[in-house]
Amino acid sequence: MRRLKTGALGLAALLATATFVTAQEEGVTDDEIVIGNVLPMTSSAALVGRAAHFGSVIAAREANANGGVNGRQVTIRTEDDGYVPARTVQGLRKLMDEGLFGLIGTGAGAGTAAILPILEEEGIPAIVSFSPLQAAVDPIKPSVFMLGASYQDLLYAQLKYIHDNDSPESPKYGVIRQDDDFGNQVEEAFHRAVDEFGADTAEPIRYKRGQKDFGAEILRTRSEGVNVLVAGGVTTEIPAMLKEASKFKLDLRIATVPTSTLPPIMQLSAPFGYDYYSGDYISPRGSEGSQHFEDMAKAHLNEEEQGALNRYAITGYIATSIMIEAIRRCGDEPTRACAVEQMESGEAFDTHGITLPLDFAPDRHISATAVRVLQVDPEAGSLTPVTEFTEY
């Protein structure tokens, strides 16, 4: 009797899990279009992730204030990946489950690499905009686009400028780089430059991500007699290196990645009396080119949110605006395939002065690769372009 009861129970459980399949939204409903971000909102890269998130929010709100996209409102959904590639994958899956049309924030470096297969498989339009990754556009994936010059180009441009215009008497080049894929790109830029110049070099020095104390690294740099240094830190490592260098009053020409222009980093670097170089593919904040962005930021964000903005907000803003415009060009029934087609059509997208008008082509899914070298004076808080936008 008991066996019969348990058997019936099992059967009931089986039947209870009746099967039906739920259809998946593609991120478009009658009144909204969903654009997603997977960004590091926590962890050491939070500075970057939060800014990129708010940048896309500004673009969306701007579009919505102007009547939306052919009658639909743009919604931004952001997932946190905490700078961990595995969570970038999870975040993307969650967004896909909830309905996603296109993706702007693609996680940092290794995170982007992790989700590329999924983007390809599902044909999700994506614009990689805040952490350049060569593999995203080489070979070309049908729906993946990229904005911005690689770290390689950014650093090479600076080293070339230093070599041509600000070279010390007997230059010796050195690099301090992180021990991950970002650090690899930094070192590649270093090798590209020194091979071209035939310059005297010291061996690249590696440090572990998250390291604070650069005493030993700078001491080695000093003992090698390096006077042109690629300070390959992500954020707070840069001021830490400058601090140790200032101890010995080392005379250095310093090349850095764009994060060195973030206000908190400049603030931390100010006391040490060093000017350094940086590079970027967008107009810096406070310049004429970014005026429109600043106006939109004030109009659509509150005080606290505005405080989180930096250059990464600008790149998020441009990428989102481009995607929104591509969707708009598709008319009343936007599909992913159409949006992709519009993007690679070759018709230019206007970025309101932040960069020159950007365009893509079926065989070129990357844009905004022209770099401008900047001279940074952290104490005065100023960013001065010293070259024009140039391709490297």
């Binding site: 939070a46 061996e203 020095i205 572990k208 005493g215 030993a216 003992s223 603030q267 931390l268």
Partner: protein, 290 residues
């Protein structure tokens, strides 16, 4: 030679921070048998609080130190009362897990209150360089070294000569006997946490002054584990010495060998040492009754 001395100095500076935090570990472990996984986070909390006090009240440095000590003691006592006291009587391992939960909680709490950005710690010692022969140090780096010496001396004197210090040693050796001798064991536990918070908090302030007040300072606590183990968890001075050793070895290995050995050289060393002396260089062998 110049490189060597500077590397050693650099190692001693960061080693001082590790060493002070390791002393904090050892104090709590020695007195209560608990390894406080949240020591790095407590240090961070004290450093942040100190920063807030310094910036909002514009305190000069000589006033900031005693205020920090008070704040740290308070924080230590409160944390012990809220999180650890309710667990008394439970197996030590559970309490250790509570400290792990505490660590997770404090990390999030600090970001929620103070935000995720790094900021410089402004109330610093008069800036400037100090040159001792070929070795060049910032004033705040020398301060870290001096702090280490002061803390080590204070801890040694406290445990050796004061009544309370002796009472703490008694509790560590045998809690029941201590109770029978009239020692209030609960107060001892509170005191241990308060001292540990003060000690590691000062290290945290020194660290923040040297680098920045940032929400990933807790990682230094993690790096101090090898130091405490190397010296021996139940020997505060040994742990301190362990910190210095780890700091110097890390700096020398990075300076001469490279390959990012800085971080793991400490770990390699402790494995080797523990094989020879399983209770650390200065620790006491645990006697088990069968």
């Amino acid at each position: 030679m110049d490189l060597f001395l500077n590397l050693v100095a650099s190692g001693l500076v960061i080693g001082s921070i590790y060493g002070i935090i390791a002393i904090a570990f050892a104090i709590i472990f020695k007195t209560t048998g608990v390894l406080n996984f949240a020591q790095g986070e407590v240090m961070m909390l004290v450093a942040y609080t100190s920063w807030s006090l310094a910036t909002s009240l514009a305190l000069p440095f000589w006033l900031l130190v005693p205020v920090t000590i008070l704040a740290a003691a308070l924080i230590g006592v409160v944390i012990e009362f809220v999180f650890i006291r309710p667990m008394s009587g439970q197996p030590v391992f559970s309490i250790v897990m509570v400290t792990i939960g505490l660590a997770i909680t404090l990390r999030s709490l600090i970001i929620m209150i103070w935000g995720p950005d790094a900021a410089p710690f402004d109330a610093s010692v008069e800036g400037g360089l100090i040159e001792i022969g070929p070795v060049v140090l910032f004033t705040e780096q020398l301060f870290a070294l001096l702090l280490f010496c002061a803390v080590s001396a204070a801890v040694y004197l406290f445990f050796r000569f004061t009544r309370i210090g002796i009472a703490m040693r008694a509790t560590a050796m045998d809690e029941t006997s201590a109770l029978l001798m009239g020692v209030d064991v609960r107060r001892i536990s509170s005191l241990a946490w308060a001292i540990a918070a003060v000690v590691s908090g000062l290290a945290g302030v020194a660290f923040a002054v040297m680098f920045a007040r940032a929400p990933d300072m807790w990682f230094q606590g993690l790096q101090s584990f090898p130091a405490a183990i190397l010296g021996g968890l139940d020997s505060p001075l040994g742990s301190g010495a362990g910190g210095l050793i780890i700091g110097v070895i890390a700096a020398l290995s990075e300076g001469y060998i490279g390959h990012g050995l800085k971080e793991i050289s400490g770990f390699i060393v402790i494995i080797i040492v523990l094989m020879i002396r399983p209770y650390g260089l200065f620790g006491e062998k645990e006697l088990e009754r069968v």
